[in-house]
């Protein structure tokens, strides 16, 4: 399986993602933002970080970068596009995913382990994961997902909510919402479920000596389902 990680100026989880993808068997390549073509890939990843310094708005300048047209074409032709953290923000800025990511409710950067509940397994990203609740890690200042009521209804009706913040038992209520995201949303799909944007970082949870190992389940499934 071939994957491509796009590096924008200011990306800083590109190496972590590269390590994770390779660990689970992907043949990964790094692609520079100023290139106009992406080598043949089964998966494109927009990594976390602060692309273009997050100036203007998180992800907004990356959403207009030279490489992004190829990402959009790839996504529109059904290719798998995964955006983590800043990558999620970029995907909303391009319009590939609905909604926006606002500053966290309590206005602070948050770096900690969280639990997320898998809301939809009818897709390549979560298909064969046996667990219902994963322990992942967040590190962001703008992860407070928001969209209009009409959009929310569409997202819900189409099963586009991918993961929601919850406790270790899967209760996804306001007590387990770290950043104020509407409906505890931590990650969403596009309508066809080939695009996934999520705030938590599975690539930081791939080793028992790190924060945990549930990220491994994510990558194992991804490798197996493509």
């Amino acid at each position: 399986m071939k994957s491509s990680v796009i590096i924008f100026p200011g990306s800083n989880c590109d190496r972590d993602m590269d390590v994770a993808l390779k660990k689970f068997g992907f043949e990964n390549q790094m692609v520079w933002h100023n290139d106009s073509e992406i080598p043949k890939s089964d998966l494109i990843v927009l990594p976390g970080g602060f692309s273009y310094g997050d100036y203007l708005r998180c992800g907004s300048i990356a959403g207009k970068s030279r490489i992004i047209k190829s990402v959009i074409d790839f996504a529109n032709s059904g290719g798998l596009v995964l955006g983590i953290c800043n990558g999620f923000q970029i995907l909303t800025e391009t319009g590939l995913l609905p909604g926006i990511l606002q500053q966290n409710k309590y206005l602070n950067f948050i770096c900690k382990n969280v639990f997320v509940k898998i809301k939809n397994k009818e897709n390549k990203y979560f298909k064969n994961i046996k667990k219902e609740v994963l322990e992942l890690h967040i590190a962001h200042n703008e992860g407070n997902y928001f969209c209009s009521n009409d959009e929310l209804k569409l997202i819900e009706d189409n099963g586009q909510i991918a993961v929601t913040y919850c406790d270790d038992k899967g209760n996804d209520n306001e007590h387990n919402n770290p950043n104020g995201a509407i409906k505890n949303i931590a990650g969403i799909f596009n309508k066809d479920k080939n695009i996934l944007g999520m705030m938590p970082h599975p690539e930081r949870m791939i080793d028992p000596f790190l924060s945990g190992e549930d990220g491994s389940l994510f990558f194992e499934n991804l490798m197996g389902s493509i």
Partner: protein, 731 residues
């Protein structure tokens, strides 16, 4: 052009006799640009004029040392061609004036010091000291500093893995922000600041130069008065995004062979970086200031030379490599300009609009900079307190424990480190909140432990003992995670060196640091000095911060402090004599601030530490935590909270009362958790090695108990311990 006079010189922070010396050296009156250059190089921050004499005494050698003090950062060998570049630096004055930018640029500056040497930063740490929590400025300063540290480090993508936060009213008018960075480099590919060869191009890369931070270094060499608000323009403004690009571009250029020397533009900007490179290479340097990329119009040579705009580097390249280098900086969208060349004149010569605007022999600025042997007084060891039975009569262990666990210096600091990205780079195997932060050396089995410590209370009570203690505490933190201590970096934060008492505190703390680091083979390889932490005649307590690093040859052997399993025993290594003077207990429970700090016995320190490592290597230890502020009961509580397990404490023996035993701050002690089946062998080894130990208790239930005297649930103590800072910041 401004006419230079003694008055103008004094406004630049120079003393009358220093100005006279400048005129004598030059045999003429300097022009304003030259005066600016002198004032930048001769201030305390850059010249170390009050401290140099004493810093020479520091213990800086060891087989592990590749580069000691004097470079951008220290370098130590961690085997297999890997080396760690690290340093701590203060950004106190700017952070008090403008907490967000002050702290942010402190982090940015120290990271540049590290990647200037060719190392990729792999971890950040910090030590921050604030005034009393009740002081009107404390909350906002704390909030701003934490946001600034996070704002910069998070954006660059370097994990902040450990730190220290203290509160004491002596910092009401002068907070401390000390930032530390560790970087990883191949030991055969280290870059230095010493220029070599004549007619080599001098290159400016990074951000454009603006009017921010002019005289920042002079500001950091002065005491504060009522007008500090006016000093805001001297605070630099950081742009972590540009620094991230600069980091990647520099490392890309460093992969080739075109760099002769490289130096970041930190304090005193272009002035100190150009002079330092030339001075170390015994060369001259010629700079055309017209070619310096500026972000504001009509900047004068004076402003360009003294600006402390951030994210800039100066490079001496091999001639002919300019195009190759420029391509890399173009790729990263950074300015690149050939602004001058090295010369054989041994002078710094500055040109602007085709006119020579300054010429100064470099020796005058570096070697001939003033050096003072300031007067100092030796501190007396305070008389010991003689607590009587009555002092303890009405006290209950549980009340004391609750009070101590919610004491600002002890209470949990998660509110702070949750705002720092501590897991980016995917190698953080011990997060903040433990004995030390630990990161793996990427792609190897090795890991590096790092921690920052300070003990202003002890240093204030007796500087010599305090200086020793901080080094020992750092050493213990390395041991407690199972790492072999390697070396330290020190940030020496003190008051006004022109006062004999303050100077004495400095001299004796340095002496203490030297004695301990020599004995423990824990050399100082880098650091900085911050004097004049004084506002309206009130100085801070002497606060040397020690940043230590240690090596784990197998990261899987790391130990942590959370209690593991019921039925396991806790042993305390090291003798408990119940020293309460200067302890958290004495201050908070007995309201007593007198007496000497606990004594340091370096022999015991080394023996006890080595025995822990020995037990760890034999796989006999489950958990380890050193006993520091708050004594045994505080340490046990933290271990219990982290592991969510209770402890039954055994009856104590000997002459000390239970308060002295449980809250005394005797040194060189560790608490270790041992499986029952390994207890016999552990005891045998400790006895054979003549290590003093007591059986402290056994892990059971969800309470900490001591006979009928103490019964307290983990949930209860956890709540108070965890919530103090959060509530303080929210309310």
């Amino acid at each position: 052009m401004i006419e230079v006079s003694e008055k103008i010189a004094i406004e630049h922070g120079l003393k009358s006799d220093e100005y006279k010396k400048i005129c004598d050296l030059l045999k003429r009156t300097p022009n304003i640009t030259e005066l600016g250059v002198f004032s930048a190089m001769w201030n305390e921050h850059c010249s170390y004029k009050s401290s140099r004499k004493h810093l020479k005494k520091l213990h800086t050698k060891g087989d592990q040392v590749i580069q000691g003090p004097g470079e951008n950062a220290g370098v130590v060998d961690i085997e297999d061609d890997d080396a760690i570049v690290f340093k701590i630096e203060s950004h106190n004055h700017p952070s008090f004036i403008e907490p967000y930018q002050g702290a942010a640029t402190g982090v940015g500056g120290i990271m540049r010091d590290v990647f200037t040497m060719g190392a990729r930063p792999i971890a950040n740490l910090n030590s921050i000291h604030f005034g009393s929590p009740d002081h009107e400025k404390t909350k906002n300063l704390l909030r701003g500093v934490v946001k600034g540290i996070g704002g910069y480090g998070n954006c660059i993508g370097v994990p902040t893995i450990a730190g220290q936060t203290c509160f004491d009213e002596s910092y009401n008018g002068n907070i401390l922000v000390n930032a530390m960075t560790l970087g990883l480099v191949n030991k055969n590919k280290i870059f230095y600041s010493k220029a070599a060869g004549v007619d080599k191009p001098v290159i400016y890369v990074g951000s454009k130069t603006g009017r921010d931070g002019i005289h920042g270094a002079s500001m950091a060499s002065a005491i504060f008065d009522d007008k500090i608000e006016e000093k805001k323009p001297t605070v630099q403004v950081g742009d972590p995004f540009t620094e991230k690009l600069l980091l990647e571009a520099c490392l890309e250029l460093m992969a080739g062979k075109s760099i002769i020397s490289i130096q970041d533009m930190g304090a005193a900007g272009l002035t100190s970086s150009s002079i330092e490179m030339a001075s170390k290479g015994e060369l001259g340097i010629e700079i055309d200031l017209t070619k310096v990329p500026c972000r504001e119009e009509n900047m004068t040579p004076y402003e360009i030379m003294l600006s402390e705009s951030q994210e800039r580097m100066l490079i001496v390249l091999e001639a002919g490599k300019e195009d190759e280098a420029k391509k890399i900086f173009d790729k990263w969208n950074l300015d690149f300009a050939v602004i001058g060349k090295t010369t054989s004149s041994k002078n710094i010569e500055l040109f602007f609009e085709n006119k020579k605007v300054a010429e100064i022999p470099i020796d005058f600025l570096a070697e001939n900079a003033p050096m003072y042997d300031r007067k100092w007084i030796k501190a007396k060891l305070p008389k010991e307190n003689n607590f009587s039975k009555d002092d303890f009569k009405s006290l209950k262990l549980s009340d004391c424990l609750n009070k101590i666990l919610t004491e600002p210096n002890i209470a949990d600091k998660e509110w702070i480190w949750n705002q720092y990205d501590h897991t980016v780079m995917g190698d953080t195997i011990q997060k903040p909140g433990g004995n030390a932060g630990v990161v793996r050396v990427h792609g190897t089995n090795k890991a590096i432990a790092a921690a920052v410590d300070s003990s202003a209370t002890y240093c204030h009570a007796h500087p010599l003992t305090g200086g020793k203690q901080v080094v020992c505490e750092s050493w213990r933190n390395m041991i407690s995670v199972g790492a072999k201590p390697i070396a330290i970096t020190n940030c020496l934060n003190f008051g006004n060196p022109e006062k004999e008492k303050n100077m004495g505190e400095f001299v004796e703390c340095v002496e203490g640091i030297t004695e301990a680091s020599k004995y423990l083979n824990y050399p100082v390889v880098s650091g900085n000095v911050s004097f004049y932490n004084e506002t309206k005649d009130k100085g801070i307590k002497p606060t040397p911060s020690i940043g230590g690093i240690g090596l784990l040859s197998d990261y899987k052997q790391m130990i942590a402090m959370d209690l593991k399993s019921e039925g396991n025993y806790l042993l305390i290594i090291g003798k408990t004599e119940g020293h309460l003077d200067q302890s958290i207990f004495a201050k908070n429970i007995l309201s007593n601030h007198k007496g000497p700090p606990p004594e340091i016995n370096l022999f015991n320190e080394k023996q006890n530490g080595m025995s822990i490592l020995n037990l760890k290597n034999k796989n006999l230890i489950e958990t380890c935590h050193d006993v520091s502020l708050g004594g045994i009961l505080t340490a046990v509580s933290k271990m219990a909270i982290k592991g969510n397990k209770g402890v039954k404490l055994f009856p104590i023996e000997g002459l000390v009362n239970k308060f002295e035993y449980f809250f005394g701050e005797d040194q060189a002690r560790y608490i270790i958790e041992i499986k029952p089946e390994k207890l016999e062998i552990v005891e045998k080894i400790l006895k054979k090695d003549s290590i003093h130990f007591d059986k402290l208790g056994v892990i059971e239930s969800d309470q900490i108990t001591y006979g009928n005297d103490l019964k307290i649930s983990i949930d209860d103590i956890k709540e108070g311990y965890k919530k103090w800072l959060k509530e303080y910041m929210v309310n």
